[in-house]
Amino acid sequence: MPDHQANGVKSAREDRFQGHDYYNIDALLSDDHLLARDAVRNWVKQEVSPIIEDYSNRAECPYHLFKGLAEIGAFGPSLPEEYGGGGMDEIAYGIIMQELERGYSGVRSMASVQGSLVMYPIYRFGSEEQRRKYLPKLASGEMIGCFGLTEPDHGSNPNGMITNIKEDGDHYILNGAKMWITNSPVADVAVVWAKDEEGIVRGVIVEKDMPGFSAPEIHGKWSLRASITGELVFEDVRVPKANILPKVKGLKGPLSCLSKARYGIAWGAIGAAMDCYDSALRYSQERIQFGKPIGQFQLTQKKLAEMITEITKAQLLAWRLGTLANEGKATPAQISMAKRNNVHMALEIARESRQIHGGMGSTNEYPVMRHMMNLETVLTYEGTHDVHLLITGLDITGLNAFS
């Protein structure tokens, strides 16, 4: 990861965001949670808000934020301190994701991928040697990681993957390709999921300079424009056997990582929703039409009232899920429900908020359309909205709609 400086034009618009807590959920949070929220919110206001419109406009990734995210402690905050993590609980992790996504979903993606999809599997399924080799450097941002599960022909159905490893002495030979991989073009390491000769999914740590490995960038996204996405291409890549994650076999490996990341997204979406609501609430009081603030019209009030209601419900869902996660009791199906509900809620709020902003809502004077475009991807990645409905469906009926 080369050293990067912020570039481009700084926005003149001040980030006036204020949190919203209609049901006094703050009273359920600890001092650590409140301090973490305050710190990340300040960091976002200082580092993300002034530059993000310009970066997304230019479809460039603000690489310098990796360092800042590491410094603030956003990479693996709930992993143990001895590996460079923060030793915090799951609610703190959720709150950090909420505040990052309040600024920009792609900045939250940077942290989700690094923490939940790269550091977490190495911590949970890696050898002690792998933990010591990679985790501190990933936590400090010295190394950037990516997570390769999705393939060009296997998205919602990862079990169909064709990327594979074959034993060759003290190496595995890795072949195949991954698609839509966040951060892959700038990553130093990739946690890649591939099938072994028996067809069992295994995780391998691939390093960027291994011959036969390339990571071309995918261009042209209208969503998460300031987040870099790419492919992973493996042509007879020789991966030392020491790089296989020893402690997991099967699809539950990648799926348990996704559960971690989805949990963070369930919180993150609340951040994006609050930003859209906050902007709409302020705009509705400042914008005058027919001689009065538009917030005085019943139809605007209906929109605002529904927004804060949905945000409050999502907050309670996230808080309860966080409490279960702290007790080690949050099931993948419960996490799936919160991801689906909260992202969908945020996208609906972004759309309504865009309407309240009128024509202005379509510009980069306000954060709303940017959130809306980002949330379209958030609705799809980490399991599409529809796939999550089927997960709940399977959980409550016992009948599998996938097979």
Binding site: D32, L35, A39, N42, G73, G86
Partner: protein, 246 residues
């Protein structure tokens, strides 16, 4: 260097201000509190920078009830080594200054930092009172501090220029904008703060001589008057007769 930083709690700048008990007390219900920015951004951070450069320790002190521990924890998360809370509900600057001076007497601090004012009462009193009670020199509104051994060079802005003072430790200074730059605590700091000592000390008895009788809100701002761009005479008349600026 053994440093003491006085930190207080103030309502967030966006808080809605209201009074209770016949306008004699501030309504704290529903108000979000923060660490006073002059204490946090300038006094505390500069003290930490001094410690990082020459070694020593930074202690933060607050006079207030247990609810203030959240703010104290933030100071520890930013980097202070230990904290002291004088367990009382302060009613005046004099009360606060007494408690701080009483504590500091037994501790031999090389310097005591306060913020130039709190953003609620804007009293700018505590620092000067502490200095007086400890019989130490006091520099207010410091925006630059250099230390060379025991000698401090401190600048402060004055009308139309800068005043530079040189003095030896121990001293008390009040911190103004420019003395340092805000530091955002990181997650590691927040977790470490839990393991740092926070000592709760009972207050020394003290009779306040001044009592706040009442508070008032400033008069509501009058609405903006729009003047037709064609009607310059009316603009001149309003500026002259109503605004009285020409």
């Amino acid at each position: 260097m053994k440093l003491l930083v006085c930190v207080s709690k103030t309502p967030d700048t966006t808080a809605k201000i209201a009074f209770k008990d016949n306008n004699s007390a501030f309504e704290e219900d529903g108000v979000q509190f923060i660490m006073n920015p002059y204490d946090e951004w300038y006094a505390l951070v500069r003290a930490l920078e001094v410690k990082e450069a020459v070694g020593g320790s930074v202690t933060i002190i607050n006079v207030g009830p247990a609810a203030n521990d959240t703010i104290i924890r933030k100071g520890l998360a930013i980097g202070a080594d230990s904290a002291v809370r004088i367990d009382a509900n302060p009613q005046s600057a004099m009360f606060v200054a007494r408690q701080i001076a009483e504590y500091a007497k037994g501790e031999d601090f090389d310097a005591i930092f306060v913020g130039k004012e709190t953003i609620d009462h804007n009293g700018s009193e505590v620092g000067a009172m502490v200095a007086e009670l400890l019989d130490q020199p006091y520099i207010s509104f410091a925006n630059h501090l250099e230390l060379d051994g025991k000698v401090a060079t401190i600048s402060r802005e004055i009308e139309g220029g800068v005043e530079v003072a040189e003095l030896e430790v121990p001293f008390v200074l009040s911190a103004a904008k420019g003395l340092a730059e805000q530091r955002i605590p990181n997650m590691r700091g927040i977790m470490m703060a839990k393991r740092k000592p926070l000592k709760v000390v009972p207050p020394t008895a003290f009779e306040d001589q001044a009592v706040v009788v009442s508070y008032e809100l400033p008069p509501a701002k009058a609405a903006v008057k729009m003047v037709d761009p064609e009607n310059l005479d009316e603009l001149v008349r309003l500026l002259h007769e109503e605004a009285k600026v020409i």
